[in-house]
């Protein structure tokens, strides 16, 4: 098999649509194009049937009732709807305090910041250095007026899996609405919403081999959770989210989640083998640091910092692989990853991190290529690095007085 570059190792950013999913979607663009809300003819009925079958598939992956699934445009919208919708609905009865985590996705952080501007108060918990939340610290953050907590299932940058069951139980005991962003979790970890004490859960299709532009929000029925709509209009999705349903996108998400349910176990075993191969190859390089707990983590993710090389030059050096960097200095600002900063990583290590994310179509050959590329390029950049030279000379860089500029 021949290797084509660049090699895609950014499955946590997005996944390709599985060909089986694409094939299933196509007839819904040209043939079964009806509006699922049309009640008066067969075009509408056929589309509605497809939408409901897909809803059933999404529900099955997470062991929920299909009536608990609300279609949205993606996880960002689901997070906004859940957080603002529940905060607004329940603030009058419970209070105006929200607990979330500093390492959440921006699609959780920003809605919470928006609520702060409206007069809510928020606690952004710092995780432990391994990326996981200390349950005692979570408990300590609870106030009598805490109305909502939002904790992501799987972190997008470092792949760590939070103990959703334990946090959910604490929320139940304290009568706090619990939202979970599961965009990075579907098809990677088992989700059983009959057992998990979660009230609201956000999903995305395009992280699980479905199309972009479609997602869902789980809204628990027993006990019933109420949310205030953020999008007003024709009263679709039982008034929680108005807007004509994109049948083809929904069909794609349903098929993607069906495949995830059926193939998840084998796929995760294969991906774990690849991840371990990558890990073993990369830790043979000196001065590398894995970011986030290596055990409580999805097999798909490996986030590593390479000390004494700078982030942007690292990304330039590895252009044959498509990965994400913890450094945002390719944009105008020199802001390193806020997730890695929250773990207590230094600016330098945060800047020089790379997130490798492995997926359905990654091959062993691609992993081997990546390992040898990284070894070669890290070696070259360190040859060029005065910091590496000082490190080899035994200089403690933290003791040097740098002329900041």
């Amino acid at each position: 098999m021949s290797l084509t570059t660049p090699i895609y190792l950014d499955y946590s950013a997005t996944t390709p649509v599985d060909p089986r999913v694409a094939e299933k979607m196509i007839p819904y663009l040209t043939k079964i194009f009806g509006n699922p809300a049309s009640r008066s003819h067969s075009f509408g009925w056929a589309a509605e049937k497809a939408v409901e079958e897909a809803r059933e598939e999404v529900a099955r992956l997470v062991n929920a009732d299909s009536r608990e699934i609300v279609w949205t445009s993606g996880a960002t919208e689901s997070n906004n709807l859940a957080i603002k919708g529940a905060a607004h609905f329940y603030s009058g009865t419970k209070g105006k305090h929200i607990i979330t985590v500093a390492t959440e996705h921006k699609a959780v952080i920003d809605p919470v910041r928006e609520l702060e501007r409206e007069g809510f108060e928020a606690t952004f918990l710092n995780p432990e250095p391994n990326g996981l939340i200390d349950i005692e610290k979570f408990k300590a953050a609870i106030r009598p007026d805490t109305v909502l907590a939002s904790v992501m299932f799987v972190n997008n940058e470092i792949g760590v899996i939070q103990d959703i069951e334990a946090i959910g139980n604490i929320c139940r005991e304290n009568n706090i609405i619990f939202h979970v962003d599961a965009a990075q979790a579907t098809g990677k970890v088992e989700i059983d919403l009959e057992k998990l004490p979660v009230d609201l859960m956000s999903f995305s299709a395009h992280k699980t081999y479905g199309p972009k532009g479609i997602g869902a929000l789980y809204v628990r029925r027993k006990p019933r959770i109420r949310i205030e709509a953020q999008m007003h209009g024709g009263g679709h999705e039982r008034g929680m989210r108005s807007g004509t349903l994109p049948t083809h996108q929904i069909v794609g998400m349903g098929e993607a989640f069906r495949i995830a349910r059926e193939e998840m176990k084998q796929e995760n075993e294969r991906i774990l083998r690849l991840r371990n191969r990558l890990l073993q190859g990369l830790v043979s390089i000196d001065e590398v640091y894995v970011n986030g707990d290596i055990e409580k983590r999805v097999p798909h993710n490996l986030n590593i910092s390479f000390n004494f090389v700078e982030g942007e030059s690292l990304i330039m050096a590895v252009k044959d692989i498509a990965v994400s960097s913890g450094s945002a200095c390719t944009s105008a600002s020199l802001e390193p990853s806020y997730v890695l900063r929250a773990l207590g990583r230094s600016d330098e290590l945060a800047h020089s991190s790379i997130r490798f994310s492995i997926g359905r179509f990654t091959t062993e050959e691609e992993i081997d290529y990546t390992v040898s590329l990284m070894k070669n390029k890290i070696g070259k950049l360190r040859e060029l690095s005065p910091l590496w030279e000082m490190h080899l000379d035994g200089v403690d860089l933290s003791k040097v007085e740098w002329a900041a500029h």
Binding site: F308, V309, E310, G311, E312, S313, M316, S327, C329, T330, A332, L334, S346, D347, E348, H351, E383, L384, S385, P386, L387, W388, E389, L397, W402, A403, A404, H405
Partner: protein
């Protein structure tokens, strides 16, 4: 980041990477920047007995344009006197490499590195001091 071909060329084939003997009285060393800011440049120059820069070496921790800026100045420095070297302006570096506006600071850092190396050398060679 859309870099010019010249930046890419210097980044991929950096000129004059390495180190000179710091304790050599004919070698001046300039180290500028800070790891937390994302770039550190070490620039070294070596003069011959007539005060002409005959060798220049660099090592840079930084982005592509920081590496390119320091690589470029090592080429420019050779054959110059210390006074000529001190006249190299960041704007000339930025222009030569067609640096985008957000990367102008890399050329500033390279200019600072030259000044620091020249100052270090002059401090070592007091007879040159009056030409500062």
């Amino acid at each position: 980041m859309a870099y010019s071909d010249k930046v890419i060329d210097h980044y991929e084939n950096p000129r004059n990477v390495g180190s000179l003997d710091k304790s050599d009285p004919n070698v001046g060393t300039g180290m500028v920047g800070a790891p937390a800011c994302g770039d550190v440049m070490k620039l070294q120059i070596k003069v011959n007995d007539s005060g002409i820069i005959e060798d220049a070496k660099f090592k840079t921790y930084g982005c592509g344009s920081a590496i390119a800026s320091s690589s470029l100045v090592t080429e420019w420095l050779k054959g110059k006197t210390l006074d000529q070297a001190a006249e190299i302006k960041n704007s000339a570096i930025a222009e030569e490499l067609a640096l985008p506006p957000v990367k102008i600071h890399c050329s500033v850092l390279a200019e600072d590195a030259i000044k620091a190396a020249v100052a270090d050398l002059k401090a070592k060679q007091p007879m040159n001091k009056e030409t500062v």
